[in-house]
């Protein structure tokens, strides 16, 4: 999951999620930075709206609470 957190960190800091940046963050965290995985991540993120993806979590989280009430 390091890759995902690195992407989220860059996103929150308003930085480009590109190979160089992801690698830099991972290395700062003492994590191995596999080029292929970084590439796959970036390619996958191209069509993804991070804010939207995160917002969906909350929706899913809200449902059980409602059901339990």
């Amino acid at each position: 999951m390091e890759y995902i957190y690195a992407a989220m960190l860059l996103h929150t800091a308003n930085q480009d999620i590109n190979e160089e940046n992801v690698k830099k963050v991972l290395e700062a965290a003492g994590s191995e930075a596999d080029e292929a995985r970084i590439k796959a991540l970036i390619a996958a993120l191209e069509d993804v709206d991070i804010e939207e993806a995160i917002a969906k979590t909350a929706v899913a989280a809200a449902a059980p609470a409602a059901a339990a009430a």
Binding site: M1, Y3, I4, Y5, A7, M8, R37, A40, L41, A43, A44, L45, D47, V48, I50, E52, A53, I54, K56, T57, A60, A61
Partner: protein, 292 residues
């Protein structure tokens, strides 16, 4: 072909030609199809399949004389009023189309119930009269209610595979229950050296959709659980990461732009919870605005 009338020879030749010129040859049963309906079906199949009725002997002859390997096996699948169907479409698709074009028809005395025949409870169109006794006689629970004959319970009147009696058939028709399906029964189909029987040709579309969904879910599960990045898994991984981060921030009471309001509200609601316990013991222990 000695001693065979020339029209028969021609018919066999024409069947053989059709066999040779189509990838798929089906053996169907046309029993119980009213002529107008058969006409309609033929018309709707016009561009995709040819339906040919003929004598059993002539069809057998054509099949046995065909050079197509194993096609003679179709002979064993002549049932009722057999007819041959010629098409280039996938035999499974042919079966699906024929099944979909079947229509409901009234029960006939002596025919076999294709499935459980259920008379549903509820109002009927019948006015009180001798029909009440007739219903009860064939085992349908009925009574008079507000000037109408009402069926009191769902009743399975003929089980699947049982023969429909004359009395029941006529009653079902009067109740406008049409339990039979009429259409072209594809008994078997030949393609590429293989004869497929109807049990093999049946497609369960719901199961196919369920399988597609299962495959996708499995693929998504595997991608997420093994943290393999693709278009589908990354949004879920982001969600999971966000949930974990939010859980950590909220449980450790770390104020961030996203957790701040929630943590404040948490403190407030905890205070309310304690206040409500306290005021339950002694209303004077809390200030006015907390009194319930």
């Amino acid at each position: 072909m000695p001693h065979v009338a020339s029209w028969k020879k021609e018919e066999v030749e024409s069947l053989k030609e059709l066999i040779e010129s189509h990838d798929v040859v089906g053996m169907a049963n046309l029993s119980d199809i009213p002529a107008p309906q058969l006409q309609k079906m033929r018309r709707s199949l016009k561009d995709s399949a040819v339906v040919k009725m003929s004598r059993k002997t002539l069809m057998s002859l054509a099949l046995s004389e065909s050079k197509k390997e194993n096609i003679a096996d179709l002979e064993g699948h002549m049932e009722g009023q057999p007819a041959m169907i010629f098409t280039d479409m996938n035999p499974f698709k042919l079966y699906k189309i024929l099944e979909a074009s079947k229509t409901d028809a009234p029960a006939k005395a002596g025919s076999i119930a294709p499935a459980d025949i259920v008379v549903p409870k509820g109002d009927t169109a019948f006015k009180p009269g001798p029909i009440l006794g007739e219903l009860q006689k064939v085992g349908i629970p009925a009574k008079i209610d507000k000037g109408k004959i009402v069926i009191t319970n769902d009743k399975t009147i003929v089980a699947e595979g049982e023969t429909i009696s004359k009395e029941i058939a006529s009653m079902l028709t009067r109740l406008e229950i049409f339990p039979m399906e009429v259409g072209i029964d594809l008994v078997a189909a030949y393609e590429d050296q293989t004869v497929y029987t109807s049990d093999v040709l049946t497609i369960d579309e719901e199961k196919t959709i369920a399988d597609v969904q299962k495959a996708f879910t499995q693929a998504l599960n595997l991608s997420v659980n093994a943290v393999i990045f693709n278009k589908e898994s990354v949004p879920v991984l982001l969600q999971n990461a966000n949930t974990k981060a939010m859980n950590l921030a909220l449980n450790a009471d770390v104020l961030t732009s996203k957790t701040r309001d929630m943590i404040l509200a948490k403190a407030y609601s905890q205070m309310l919870a304690v206040a409500s316990e306290v005021s339950g013991k002694d209303a004077d222990a809390v200030d006015d605005e907390l009194r319930e």
